[in-house]
Symmetry: C2
Subunit: 394 residues, 2 copies
C-alpha cells in the first residue's frame, strides 16, 4: 500500500467538551523513552502518581490509581466492580453521562433505577430519597455525575452522598469534567468511589483515567460472590499490580502514565485553589461576554453552572453547525455541539485545564461574533470581548 504522509495536524485551540489542549510540559514528557512496567524506577513513578491523585481527589484512599483506558473505562471499572447480577443502583440521569452509568449497571447484570432531572438542572435530592425508599429500596449504590459535560450542570454531591449513607448504599461520583477545575473533596463529602478523565481539567491527553475506591467500597468488592464481568477492569487484579505485590496483570501504558505524572505535577505546582479560581474567573468572564452578546446559557442559575463547560443556547435562525465550522476552519477553534435531546440546540464551550486562559476567552468571543455576523446577525461590535475585559477588571 501507499504509506500515508507525515503526521501534520492543523493547529487547534480546543474549547470543546474535551479533549482540551495539553500543557506543553505534558506533550514534551510524552517523548520520553520508555521504562519497563516492572522497572524499579517505574514502580516508584507509579507511587508518586498515586500520591498526587490522592491529593487532587482530596482523599486518603489507598486504592487510588489510573485505569488503562479513557474516562468511560474508569466509569465501567467503578460500576462493574461494585455491581453483581440482580443488584440495584439508583442512578441520577440528567444528561448523557448519567445515562451511561445506568447502561453500565445493566451490563454488569444489575438493575438501574433512574432518577431524572431536566437537562440543564441538577438532581433534586428529594427525588433520590424517594427512589431509595421506593423502587430502589435496598440499593447497593447511588451514582451521580458531578459535572455533566452534556448539559453544563454542576451537581452538589454531599447531600446525595449523605442520603446514600443513610440508606446503607455506596456513593459513586463521576468527576470527569470537574477534577482539577472545580473543588472536588471526596473525603469531606463522603464520596466512596469516584473516577475522572485525563483530557479535561488535568491537561493530559485522553487514554488514562483516575479511579479511587475507599475502604468501605473495597470491602464490598472483596465480598463479591461472582468475579467482576471484565477481566481487564478487575480491580482486585489491577490493585495487585498497583499495590505492594506488583503482580503483573496487563502492561501499564507507560507513556500515558508519564503524561499523567507531568500533568499532576503541573496541577499541584499551580495549587488546587489557584487552579479552581482560574477556572471560575475565566468562566465568569466568558458568560459575561456571551450574555452581553445576547446569548442565553442552558443552565439558568449561575451557582448551578460548570466553570469548565459552558452550555450556550443557539439563537433562533442560526445554523449552529455552520458556526462551529467557521470557528474551526477560520480560527482553528474547536467548540462542541449538543448531544441527545440538546443536539442542534446548544454549543458547548469548554474552558478546561490549559485551555482555560484569558486569551482563549477573548478569542472565542470574537470568533463567535464574526461567525454570527456572517449569518446576518447584527450586534454592537466587540460587545462580548468588552464585557469579558470588564469582568476580569472585577
Amino acid at each position: 500500500m501507499k504509506v500515508p504522509g507525515e503526521l501534520n495536524p492543523g493547529s487547534r485551540i480546543l474549547l470543546g467538551p474535551g479533549p482540551s489542549d495539553c500543557h506543553p510540559r505534558v506533550l514534551r514528557a510524552m517523548s520520553t523513552p520508555l521504562l519497563g512496567h516492572l522497572d524499579p524506577e517505574f514502580l516508584s513513578l507509579m507511587e508518586d502518581v498515586q500520591a498526587m491523585l490522592r491529593a487532587v481527589f482530596q482523599t486518603d484512599s489507598k486504592m487510588t490509581l489510573p485505569i488503562s483506558g479513557t474516562g468511560s473505562a474508569a466509569m465501567e471499572a467503578a460500576v462493574a466492580n461494585l455491581i453483581e447480577p440482580g443488584e440495584v443502583a439508583v442512578v441520577g440521569v440528567h444528561g448523557v453521562f448519567g445515562g451511561r452509568i445506568a447502561a453500565m449497571v445493566e451490563r454488569a447484570g444489575g438493575r438501574a433505577v433512574k432518577v431524572e432531572a431536566p437537562w440543564g438542572s441538577p438532581l433534586d435530592p428529594e427525588d433520590i430519597e424517594r427512589a431509595l425508599k421506593g423502587d430502589g429500596a435496598g440499593a447497593k449504590l447511588v451514582a451521580a455525575v458531578h459535572a455533566e459535560t452534556s448539559t453544563g450542570v454542576l451537581q452538589p454531591l454531599a447531600p446525595l452522598a449523605r442520603l446514600a449513607q443513610q440508606h446503607g448504599a455506596l456513593f459513586l461520583a463521576d468527576t470527569v469534567t470537574s477534577l482539577g477545575g472545580h473543588p472536588v473533596d471526596l473525603k469531606g463529602w463522603h464520596v466512596d468511589v469516584a473516577f475522572s478523565g485525563s483530557q479535561k481539567c488535568l491537561g493530559v491527553p485522553p487514554g488514562i483515567a483516575p479511579l479511587t475506591f475507599n475502604e468501605r467500597a473495597m470491602e464490598v468488592v472483596s465480598k463479591r460472590k461472582e468475579p467482576c464481568r471484565s477481566w481487564y477492569l478487575d480491580l482486585g487484579m489491577i490493585g495487585s499490580y498497583w499495590g505492594t505485590e506488583r503482580v503483573y496483570h496487563h502492561t501499564a501504558p507507560i507513556t500515558m502514565i508519564y503524561a499523567l505524572y507531568e500533568g499532576l505535577r503541573v496541577v499541584l505546582e499551580e495549587g488546587l485553589e489557584s487552579r479552581w479560581e482560574r477556572h471560575r474567573e475565566n468562566h465568569v468572564a466568558l458568560v459575561a461576554g456571551l450574555e452581553a452578546m445576547g446569548f442565553q446559557m442552558n443552565v439558568e442559575r449561575e451557582g448551578e453552572r460548570l466553570w469548565t463547560l459552558n452550555a450556550v443556547t443557539v439563537p433562533n435562525g442560526i445554523d449552529e453547525a455552520k458556526v462551529r465550522k467557521h470557528l474551526l476552519e477560520q480560527h482553528g477553534i474547536e467548540i462542541g455541539g449538543g448531544l441527545g435531546p440538546l443536539k442542534g440546540k446548544i454549543w458547548r464551550i469548554g474552558l478546561m485545564g490549559y485551555s482555560s486562559q484569558r486569551h482563549n476567552v477573548f478569542a472565542v468571543l470574537a470568533a463567535l461574533e464574526e461567525a454570527l455576523h456572517e449569518q446576518g446577525r447584527k450586534q454592537s461590535p466587540g460587545a462580548g470581548v468588552a464585557a469579558a475585559l470588564e469582568s476580569y477588571r472585577g
Copy 2:
C-alpha cells in the same frame, strides 16, 4: 503535598517481553498537540490507521481498528463480543496468555474447554480436533496464541483455523508478540478474529491495541441475543465511531493513535518482508551466541521458536534474578524472568520492533557473560559475541 521531582527516568535498552524500545519517530510524534476526536482531520487519520492495520494484519476486514487500551483490552474485546453466557470455546493453553483467554471466556459467561501442551511446545492440532469432537462439541470459538510471550513458542495457525472452520466455529488468534515481527497472514490462514499489542513488534508504547473481525465474525456479533458484558469494549458501538457514522462512544486516545499512526508508517516503510527478515536474522544470531555460551533454549526445535521472544533456560546454580539485576543496573538492559511454572527457570530476551538490532544482540550477549562471570561461571571470553558475528556473516 511535596510535588515529586521532574520526570527523569534512567536510560534503558528494553529486551524483555515488552514493552520494547519505541522508534524515535514514534516518541517524537507523541509530543504533537491534540486534535479533537471528531475533528475532520482526526477522522481522516483514523482511516489511515485502519488501512495500515489491514496491511500489517494482511486482511481486508472492514472492522479493523485499535482498541483504547492495552493488548489485554483487545483480547477481552475479542472474547466478550463473541461469547454469550452458556456458549463454549475451545482454547489452546500452553502458556500464560492462552490461560488468560480462557479466563476471559468464563468472565463472559461462557465455558472454556482447555486444550493443553507443555510450556515450550506448540499445540497439537489433533488435540484441538479431539476437543471439538468431545467436550468442546458445538463450540462457537476456537482460540490460540500465535506467539506465546511466556514460553517463546510459535504456533502455526492455519491448521487450527481449518479445524475450527470444519466444526462451524470461529477462529481467534492472539498475535500480540508476532504482529510486525513474524509473518501474520490472517486472510491466507482463514483467521476470523485477531488482536495484537502496540508495545512489542510495532515499536509503539503500550496503551493502544489492534483488533480485527472479519465479516463472518461480525455476523455472529450482530446476532447476539444479549449485549456484550462490557460497555467500553462493545464492538457495535466502537464500530459506529470508527465506521462511517462517527457516533461518539468514548473519547479516542488521540496521542496513542498518533503514536500508532507513526509506528505503522515506520513498519510499512521498512516493508513487512524486510522487517520479518530483520527479526529472524537477529534471533538466529542471538541463539547462536547463547548456544556458544552453553545455554539451552526453552523451545527445543528452531522452527518452533519465536524470533521476537527468546526463552533461555537458566543454568543450574545461577541466581537468575541477580543476573537480571546486573544487566539492568550495570547496563540499563532489561530482560524478563519466567512466569507461572517457568518462574525462576528461564530468562526471556525480547528482540522486538526497534529493539531488534544487531548492536543490542552483541550488547546483551556480552552483558550476560559479565553477569555470569560475576557468579563464578567460567567460559571462553567473547564466545557468544563471536558466534553472533559469525551468524551475521552467514
